[in-house]
């Protein structure tokens, strides 16, 4: 399933994101989406900066969302694309929403269905780029050959992530500083920004989805002294 250098792949570079939401708006315009966007975009922390992060599905090789689904509603297609929950099976339990290490799936409460990015199957299957990566004005979302990325970008493409003891490999590549080969994430590193202790029950109260981790540039935040907590297997 490893793509060749000239095959089209998806590359995500949040450091280029300008927060314009063209991707989110365009996603809803994709033929089969009918006005409902399957991706989202968040400020990392607006009080301290304008850094934003577009959150598209990373399309994990071994998707956690599917593993935790009690109804076996989340399937992968032959190309490794992880699909939205099957309408006939999804029980709207939100396990996937809570379990996804990247904070991707969202529960559409009004229709009791988990929906998420399917990498624009209706476009990619006929040789077009996904809508979000076509319109993205800043190159934060790029769909094209690895050749181009390696030739033109300073950042390196990474598709292996370390969440504690879990190694996650994804179809979508994350652009990172060139010396990194795998991105270590400790969710705790993302939490102390509000100058208060982490409240482990906050999620249960707001049910707004897991914190979005999809951003390498947040390492620049001065409050984050270390690149890694040291508790993971990357050390």
């Amino acid at each position: 399933m490893i793509a060749t250098a000239t095959e089209n792949e998806f590359f995500l570079d949040p450091s280029r994101c300008i927060g314009c939401q063209a991707c989110v708006q365009a996603c809803g315009e994709c033929g089969t989406h009918r006005g409902v966007s399957m991706i989202h975009l968040e400020y990392v922390h607006r009080p301290t900066g304008v850094q934003t992060a577009p959150v598209v599905c990373m399309h994990c090789e071994d998707p956690t969302c599917a593993k935790v689904c009690p109804a076996d509603a989340i399937k992968q297609d032959d190309n490794g694309v992880v699909l939205s929950a099957a309408k006939s099976r999804c029980v709207a339990c939100s396990n996937c929403v809570l379990a996804c290490p990247f904070g991707v799936p969202k529960m559409k409460a009004e229709i009791d269905l988990m929906m998420k990015c399917d990498m624009c199957y209706d476009r990619t299957s006929v040789g077009k780029k996904p809508m979000c990566a076509t319109v993205c004005p800043s190159g934060a979302l790029y769909y094209g050959p690895r050749d181009y990325i390696e030739k033109h970008r300073r950042e390196a493409a990474v598709n292996e992530f370390q969440f504690g003891r879990q190694t996650v490999r994804t179809k979508v590549n994350m652009m990172t500083s060139p010396e990194l080969t795998a991105l270590p994430f400790d969710v705790l590193d993302f939490l102390p920004w509000e100058d208060k202790d982490f409240d482990p029950f906050a999620l249960a109260r707001v049910r707004d989805g897991a914190p979005d981790a999809a951003n390498s540039a947040v390492w620049d935040e001065p409050a984050l002294s270390q690149r890694c907590s040291g508790n993971c297997t990357c050390h």
Binding site: C20, A26, E29, G35, E42, Y43, M131, S138
Partner: protein, 737 residues
């Protein structure tokens, strides 16, 4: 007296703005009848886009990846632009004012009424008592037609356009420095530059597509310098960020040049061979030491030195600026001091090296070229120059003495209405109630008009004051050309025809001309005939389109002017070989001492107030406040305030604050962010009425260009209420539509 007869809510109920969330025919409409290759109507980048058309309605879009400027890329405005078509607020018939609002009317009635009013006003008060206000979101064809209509049919001197609020200071400075008003380089030069200065341009929000150009330069090792009182999205990744105090731009440029001269980073050969007047500048900037400049600008001396160290010895460079340095009572001076930085290095007119203002409006460039300005005739000609007047009078077939003289500029026209000197107004594509500083005075002026007619596809806040509203056309309902911020003339195709009884703008103007007895000058069968006439009128002028045809423009994905003959390929890059457009071929330096803004902070109003845009809205919002997805993205204006200042004022994030200037007050939620200078607050200006940022701004004008000072005045801020339990506005709400 044109006061409103209904409360605002009544107008909103009938004419919007209503946020539209659904395309024509709904989401399950099936395959379109056709895809029309045209351009986005929002901003001077003019991205290529394909509009999906079904049953004479625009029902969606498809990226147009072959168009070289944006290659399919779009910002959210471009993605959602199609939602303005088949809109519930769309005017589908002319309206006339009644004692309780408006009623629809036939074209004969509104034309007769308008023509009679024009004649009555002009008979009673003189020709110049009837003014015309145009816009820079319209095609080149309409910009040309507006100018011709005002001069021949209305015979008024008082015609101007809303570009006066946009970049006229940059235009004036470009003509003074280079002898021509156009970006010096095609945008394709940006990725080739090794150093880029972005001065007063919130580029990622106002011209999002150009972000990719900047970052391609960065990928190739370029250093980016951003000068802005706010860390905008493009400022976030700058190599050097200079947080200039509002209203101090010319001092900063003088300070950078001081260091460059001291270190010997000037191209003396270029200066000697291709420019004038550098000695005055050299003398002037002697006192602008980094320490002196720091005191004025609030930018650390070491950052000023660092900027000079990056810019001075660069191998190649581009300097781009926008409204941030232009919207000042010294806007022209600001631009000229920045141009000094370019000319001193000789890095202009070369591949990957040059300069440009990034024009904001859809046709910000073309809209200012073809004669809808108070002092301009087609081809960029000067209405005060006898030989220019003679050429155009002869071209139009009128005696030269009948051609009106220079009239008033846009803000001056509103002032003259307020003073009772101008009694009648015809406006098209202009919403001054939202877009001109000091909104309350604009409102009072509108109320004084004896007669006011608007040509518009939607009833803007200003149009509510009209006696007659002539239901005009949206961009996709007409055809023609626009000229982008890089000077590339591109072709707009009509996708659909105007709905109901609405008409294409240029046909409305031509019929008015005919009824005013000047029909023989306005006998066009289609927009193409206007374009052909425009190109011939421009022949030999500073802005020469005479070698362009629709076919040539389409075949080449746009043609850059000057294009003086049919076999000429157009001119993407100006000033090659150091040849400038002044008569002697040289560029001019200008030595301008820094002077403070018209209104500076004081004990009563201790903070700087500045305004600008957000990515999801366009100008006065007449179109974009009607597009649901864009409204949700940033629903209402927020006051950006630094936490340090907020703490001193007892303000927390989303608290409701009142911002007061000498001219008015506005009550909005606070957005407490570290991305703004702690002595400055910012409010975006796209909203009307009590949410209008321009209630506070200062209508003081630049003496050269007559651009108003949107970007700096003084204010005070106080908390009026706690943040509502649930935030009233989230910039990025959950995207379920």
């Amino acid at each position: 007296m044109a006061t409103l007869t209904q409360p605002d809510e009544k107008y909103i109920e009938l004419y919007g703005p209503t946020p539209n969330f659904t395309p024509a025919g709904g989401w399950k409409i099936g395959d379109p009848d056709k895809l029309v290759k045209t351009h986005c109507c929002f901003c001077g980048v003019q991205c290529g886009i394909q509009l999906k058309v079904k049953d004479n309605k625009v029902v969606g879009f498809e990226p147009w990846e072959e168009f070289p400027v944006n290659q399919g890329k779009l910002c959210p405005k471009g993605v959602m632009r199609y939602m303005q078509n088949d809109h519930p607020d769309r005017l589908i018939a002319p309206l006339v004012r009644t004692k309780d609002g408006f009623q629809t009317a036939g074209w004969h009635e509104v034309m007769r009424k308008t023509v009679k009013a024009i004649q009555d006003v002009q008979k009673k008060h003189g020709k110049d008592a009837f003014a015309f206000l145009g816009g820079a979101s319209m095609t080149n064809e309409k910009a040309y037609l507006n100018g011709k209509f005002a001069r021949i049919a209305l015979q008024t001197a008082n015609i101007d356009y809303n570009g006066r609020l946009c970049m006229v200071s940059a235009g004036a400075a470009n003509r003074m420095a280079f002898g021509v008003d156009r970006a010096a380089n095609p945008w394709s030069d940006i990725p080739l530059a090794k150093v880029i200065i972005l001065a007063g341009t919130n580029l990622a929000e106002c011209f999002p597509i150009l972000t990719d150009y900047i970052w391609r330069a960065r990928d190739a090792g370029a250093k980016i310098i951003v000068i802005d009182p706010r860390i905008t999205p493009i400022g976030r990744t700058a190599d050097l960020y200079l947080p200039v105090r509002p209203g101090r731009d010319s001092a900063l440029a003088n300070g950078i040049l001081h260091v460059m001269i001291e270190r010997g980073w000037t191209d003396e050969k270029f200066i000697a061979e291709h420019t004038h007047d550098f000695d005055q500048v050299r003398e002037l900037v002697k006192k602008y030491t980094p320490e002196y400049t720091e005191k004025i600008t609030g930018v650390p001396a070491k950052s000023i030195v660092a900027a000079a160290e990056l810019w001075g010895p660069a191998e190649s460079s581009i300097l781009l600026h926008a409204r941030g340095i232009e919207h000042h009572t010294k806007g022209t001076e600001n631009v000229l001091t920045y141009i000094n930085l370019v000319l001193a290095t000789g890095r202009i007119g070369k591949v990957g090296s040059g300069y440009g203002t990034i024009t904001g409006q859809g046709n910000g460039q073309g809209g200012r070229e073809h004669g809808q300005r108070n002092n301009q005739l087609p081809g960029g000609r000067d209405i005060n120059k006898p030989e220019h007047r003679e050429f155009i009078a002869k071209f139009w077939g009128i005696p030269e003495p009948e051609l009106p003289k220079q009239g008033l500029t846009a803000c001056e026209i509103i002032d003259a209405i307020e003073r009772g000197e101008i009694k009648g107004l015809l406006s098209i594509s202009f919403n001054p109630l939202v877009s001109i500083p000091d909104s309350e005075r604009t409102r009072k002026a509108l109320e004084k008009l004896e007669f006011f007619a608007c040509i518009d596809p939607f009833l803007s806040e200003t149009a509510r004051y009209a006696d007659v509203v002539l239901a005009g056309s949206l961009q996709e309902e007409d055809e023609g050309t626009v000229t982008t911020g890089e000077g590339r003339c591109v072709r707009l195709r009509n996708s659909v025809t105007p709905p109901g009884n609405a008409r294409v703008d240029w046909k409305i103007i031509c019929e008015l001309a005919d009824r005013l007895g000047k029909g023989k000058f306005f006998n066009y069968k289609n927009a193409g005939e206007i374009f052909t006439e425009l190109t011939q009128a421009s022949k030999g002028g500073a802005i020469d389109y005479s070698g362009m045809t629709y076919e040539k423009i389409e075949n080449n994905m746009g043609v850059f002017w000057p294009c003086p003959s049919p076999d000429h390929p157009g001119t993407p890059r100006l000033f090659e070989g150091g040849k400038f457009h002044h008569a002697d071929g040289r560029a001019k330096f200008h030595a301008y001492e820094y002077r403070p803004p018209a209104e500076d902070v004081d004990a009563d109003y201790p903070l700087f107030y500045t305004t600008g845009r957000v990515v999801s809205q366009y100008l006065s919002g007449t179109q974009t406040r009607r597009i649901g997805a864009l409204v949700k993205q940033y629903p209402e204006p927020l006051c950006e305030i630094h936490p340090l200042l907020a703490a001193k004022l007892g303000i927390k994030d989303r608290d409701i604050v009142k911002v007061t200037s000498r001219r008015g007050e506005i009550i909005v939620p606070a957005q407490v962010v570290k991305t703004i200078r702690p002595d400055t607050v910012f409010i975006p200006y796209h909203w009307p009425g009590k949410k209008a940022a321009n209630l506070l701004t200062n209508r003081a004008l630049d003496p050269i260009s007559k651009i108003p000072e949107f970007k700096v005045c003084s204010c005070r801020v106080e908390k009026v209420a706690d943040a509502p339990a649930k935030p009233t506005a989230q910039p990025f709400p959950q995207q379920i539509r």
